[in-house]
């Protein structure tokens, strides 16, 4: 029955790409200064190399679109894609629809790694900015190791045990992070806001920092889609089909953590994206990771773009942390999944 509900994959992909492009234009219109659709579109096109449009806009309008809104828009697209594809990777390789780097505490570990490096070394500018994702990655890996070791019980990882281990990890590393904030003095505000996630005041540079991580991480994951399908059969079955499951698992989790940690190092902790988006896409497009990965990445980009647009426009003259927005959507959704999962535990 469900197969019939599934839409054609190309239709979904096309729809998402269209939605993404439309969202970029719409989001660039919205803000404290509102711009008409046509004007925004023309300003955007004027920056496409080779296109020479006669300016019908003011310099101020150009700088609002090009320097204020667009870096942020693109950043939200990339971050959304990173978080969402990391979610697909975690859920697929752990065979657990509730697993995602945020729920398992990798995000908070990454935030801790980055915060520690900000406090102990000063590198908010220059080359230090590029090193931040690596500290973040180290923190994320420590969390990952911790949560997996905690959830491992006689070689088995139960679905709910893993989530509980994630809660413990989040609490523990969250405490370390709060401690860092308490001793950090003047950088405190910076770190607190960054813990709740924000894309405010981000420039093109931040985008350039993230893009290589996104490119590498996504490319690696896209080469693992068939293996993720095989692993859905069960770890033993995958081994009998010739896969080195432990090795594969570690690699995929590390790359998923890298994607997450890099994103966290630039925009802070943004929860639930990697949980909701892959789940919805699985309902719409089915379980095949060859389709699920690209579609979830696209959908995650659109989702985060609108979350950020809401974050910067919902209240006049003040930002809401984007993590708050995604949590408003994501936490009830997580509750729903948990309830459903408990009811059909065997499924």
């Amino acid at each position: 029955m469900r197969a019939k509900l599934r839409l054609n994959k190309i239709t979904i992909a096309g729809g998402l790409v269209f939605l993404l492009l439309l969202s970029v234009v719409l989001s660039s219109m919205i803000g404290s200064v509102k711009l008409p659709f046509g004007l925004s579109l023309r300003i955007l096109f004027s920056h496409v190399p080779g296109l020479d449009l006669t300016p019908t806009w003011t310099l101020a309008q150009n700088s609002i679109v090009w320097e204020l809104r667009l870096p942020r828009i693109f950043l939200s697209l990339v971050v959304g894609g990173m978080l969402s594809s990391a979610g697909v990777a975690f859920q697929g390789i752990l065979r657990n629809p509730l697993a995602d780097p945020y729920i398992l505490g990798v995000s908070v570990g990454a935030a801790f790694g980055a915060a520690a490096s900000i406090i102990f070394f000063t590198h908010s500018t220059g080359w230090g900015q590029f090193a931040l994702p690596l500290f973040s990655f180290a923190g994320g890996l420590i969390s990952l190791w911790f949560v997996l070791a905690l959830a491992q019980h006689q070689g088995q990882r139960e679905r709910e045990t893993l989530i509980l281990a994630g809660v413990v990890t989040q609490a523990l590393i969250g405490a370390f992070l709060s401690f860092l904030i308490a001793i950090s003095g003047q950088q405190m505000d910076l770190i607190v806001f960054w813990m709740m996630g924000s894309l405010a005041n981000r420039s093109w540079t931040d985008l350039w920092i993230l893009l290589p991580y996104f490119g590498l991480g996504y490319t690696y994951l896209s080469m693992q889609v068939r293996d993720l399908n095989i692993i859905a059969l069960g770890e033993n079955a995958a081994t009998y089909l010739g896969m080195d499951v432990e090795k594969k698992k570690i690699r995929v989790l590390i790359i998923g953590s890298l994607l997450t940690a890099a994103a966290v190092s630039v925009v802070g902790i943004i929860g639930f994206v990697g949980l909701i988006v892959p789940h919805l896409m699985r309902l719409i497009a089915g379980p095949d990771h060859r389709v699920l990965l690209p579609l979830s990445t696209l959908a995650g980009a659109v989702f985060l773009l609108w979350s950020d647009t809401l974050a910067r426009t919902l209240l006049p003259s003040r930002e809401i942390p984007i993590g708050v927005i995604t949590a408003f959507v994501g936490a009830p959704f997580f509750a729903f999944l948990l309830k459903k999962g408990l009811r059909r535990k065997s499924a």
Binding site: A3, R226, N229, G234, A237, Y240, L241, G286, D288
Partner: protein
């Protein structure tokens, strides 16, 4: 030609030994059954033989080489394993699941070749799954799902098929269906079949050689008719029973006599 040699295999879970000093051989082309009561070590033995579990003591050799030393992918091209639980209730289609059987043969990133696709098609047809190939396996019954798992194993083109209690959750109709397909495959392709069975009557019907385990040790091993003796079976399973000859097939069958 010796296919499997198990030499003084032993395994402990914690301090409790579940396998002790198990030695036997399986010849190529045999239909080999492993029987024994619950907890006698059958599943552990199978896991050791397929390299899923690293045995505490002893050695398992496949075609003369230690199983542990054979790469997983190479092993998967030779040996297919059908697990008791079969395939989980995923929303993949029947055809997609069967095509996964080609995994050990595919080059990284390469798609199914025309030959792969043809093979999958043939397997689907020969197991009567062609009509339901686009259905999600989550919608199938346990019996149909086990047939899909068998189809996946066939698509793997193995030389050895290992079945771990393949009929446990099946009704008698599907039991027979699965076992008959295995028998036909064995007869037509000459593959070696190794199966762990709970049902002694099925073992009598489908195996030519048997290994009887008790408390992790070999109780007896040899031709089916030598292993299936009333006295020893009754003792090993702690059950009152009588053995009769199957009126049609002429193999031993057991009837429980406890009231």
């Amino acid at each position: 030609m010796k296919l499997f040699e198990v030499v003084k295999a032993g395994h402990d879970f914690g301090n409790a030994p579940v396998l002790r000093d198990v030695s036997f051989e399986i010849e190529e082309g045999e239909s080999f059954g492993i029987i024994g009561p619950n907890g006698s070590g059958k599943s552990t033995l199978i896991k050791g033989m397929t390299g899923l579990l690293s045995l505490t003591r002893g050695e398992v050799r496949y075609r003369g080489r230690p199983v542990k030393a054979i790469a997983k992918k190479e092993l998967a091209r030779q040996i297919a394993v059908l697990e008791q639980e079969g395939t989980p209730a995923l929303t993949f289609s029947v055809e997609e699941i069967v095509a996964m059987g080609r995994y050990p043969w595919l080059k990284p990133l390469a798609d199914l070749s025309l030959r792969d696709q043809g093979l999958v098609r043939n397997v689907l047809k020969s197991l009567g799954l062609w009509e339901i190939r686009t259905q999600s396996i989550a919608t199938l019954s346990g019996g149909q799902r086990q047939l899909v798992s068998l189809a996946r194993a066939m698509a793997q083109e193995p030389q050895v098929l290992i079945l771990d209690e393949p009929t446990t959750y099946l009704d008698i109709g599907h039991q027979t269906l699965v076992m008959e397909h295995v028998r036909r495959w064995h007869a037509e392709q000459g593959i070696t079949v190794i199966m762990v069975l709970h049902d002694l009557n099925l073992a009598a019907q489908y195996c030519t050689k048997l290994l009887l385990l008790e408390d992790g040790q070999v109780r007896s091993c040899g031709d089916m008719s030598e292993v299936l003796k009333e006295g020893i079976i009754s003792k090993v399973y702690h059950t009152d029973l009588i053995m009769i000859e199957h009126p049609v097939l002429g193999v031993p069958q057991f009837l429980l006599t406890s009231k």
